[in-house]
Amino acid sequence: MADMAWNAIVAVERKLKPRDAVRCPLPQFAAWLAPWMLLFAVGLYAGFLCLRDGLYHTNMDNRFVFGLWIFLDLAIIAFGGGAFFSGFLLYILRRRELGAIIRSAVLTGFLCYAGALLVLMLDVGQPLRAWFTFWHPNTHSMLTEVTFCISCYLLVLAIEYLPTILKNRQLRRIPQALVFGWELHRMMPVLAIVGAFLSFFHQGSLGGLYGVLRGRPFAFREGFAIWPATFFLFILSAIAVGPSFLIVVTRVVEFITRRKHAGGDVYRVLGRISGILLIVYVLAKSVDTIVWLNSTSPQSGFRAWEYYAWEPFGTWILFLEIAGLGLLPAIFLLYFSRTRPERLFVPALAACAGVALNRYVQTIQTQALSTLPFDQFVTYSPSWQEVAAFLGVIAFAVIVYSASYRYLNLFARSH
């Protein structure tokens, strides 16, 4: 009886997979998903506790208002920049090579933004009042723009992902499904422009969020009109690291599935674009840092080097961010994109780590440093609920990506 039920499950599951795609047996796939499901379940429980009882389950307080979750938010939103940027390159600038990975890029972006919204939902709390953020927003807050942009962009990404879902072996049998997907695909340039517009502003506003903190001289920056320098640096870093994140994701998928999904031409384009933009970002960041060290911070009454007297945030973190995980990866990205595209993984990973470190510095270091004479240096370590919710979001992304890979064609079949 059990054998019959299992065989029926296998038979049904088999019909969902792309006909000619090589996929692992169902038990192996289930074994791969099991730990992620467990992690996701623990994350759900932690999230439930936070939503039911409030944020006292976290180690955040009135002084440390942003913690692990906001760091995760900022990092994955930056990584998700790869989706809008590759869509822009493919549909607007006609870089056809990227057609091989565009479906995976859109899904990656969708998961990054869905994860970000999940975490934001926990962080904001009060799920029954979630709509307040749209109806009663604080018009003086950069977060208002971020909330609107992220919500709209998640919708755009879901629409962009729809044609890929409709190509599932069973769904494509619905007569209208493929036609709808095809017509939707024709309109992708419009959605790519809308996505680029939305991304541009919310990536920037996330940076602007820190740059306008006049009471936090470590983060405060001058800028152009209403936008501080961090507004532009966040945009630049997101579009620089987005292609690198796509390199990382594609290589990891290739490693796990033991199949090649993108040719050297795809990696070359991604590596070159990421490298060039990263160089521009590092230059801009360096100029910004010099201005901040010599002008902005002293004008606020702080010698900038005082910030780095507080261990463990020594000057090493500044050099690591700009040189070690910024300039060096950029040079290697450019070098390997010309010579050995198969070696782009490490510099791409380092570039991602660099931008993640930047978001960590902006979020955690900014709040840890004291700014008033009677203030103390504050340390923060996340509670288990924060860590569990953090890992739960990552598990959610892995589960959805794995299922999508198994049942849809995420990569063009030319490779």
Binding site: E145, L155, L178, W182, R413
Partner: protein, 272 residues
Amino acid sequence: MFPGVDGFHWSPAHITFLTVFGIVLMAIGTTMLIVLWRTLRDVRSGRGARIRWTEDFEDLPVNERLCRHALSGTAPGRVCPRALDCRECAEHPVYAAREISASAGIPCGLDYPAQRYYHRGHTWVEPLEDGCFAIGMDDLAQRIAGPIDQVRLPAPGETLHANGAAFTVSSRGRRLRLRAPMDGRVVATGGADQPWLVKVKPLEASPRLTHLLHGAEVSAWVRTELERLQVLVSPDATGPVLADGGMLHRDLPGAMPSAPWDEIAGAMLLEP
């Protein structure tokens, strides 16, 4: 923030913010409405069948998208750039002129009458004396399907589009969709006493059948299809081996029940 909320006052910032997001939302909404409208228009006009075939063809593996002249050896490895529609292909006449018309005969006891024109999805067309065309399943497709329990045919008056769905057959709970080999309006449906399943009146006064296989090239195609079938039936074997000249079983799924017949039928009938 919004009108109607306590304490709301219009300011330039509100107007700018709400205008920009209004435009964004309108762009997304209008895009979706246009897509829906175009989808309905395509489905109603019959253009939907062509779109579905274009999408299906793109998702077929390379060995199922090979040019007919690749099968005969005239253009080795050439992938069809026109979704198997040679009527619009500028290179087809060039390759066709190079073809050597030596027929090798149909192997394995398969029946492929010479007067018929064959679609790569294993349907055929036969011109009739009254100016109509008969459409049916070819011999290999029948053997892949096995004993047929039910046939779903289009009603008289319906229009078939080349490469779109023509009819479906059910066998042992499996439903197979077969592709129409040509454009035409259905004038009659066949029964057990007829070799054909659908009779159509062509949409054009003098229909072109150059996209269908005919004459000497049918033999090369059937041989390629049999090789493909062998690999699909036993993917773990060392590869196709020379057959000993035996006849192909009339009920392949019945003879080899453990083979992945859903995938095999998809591959042979050009369903991604």
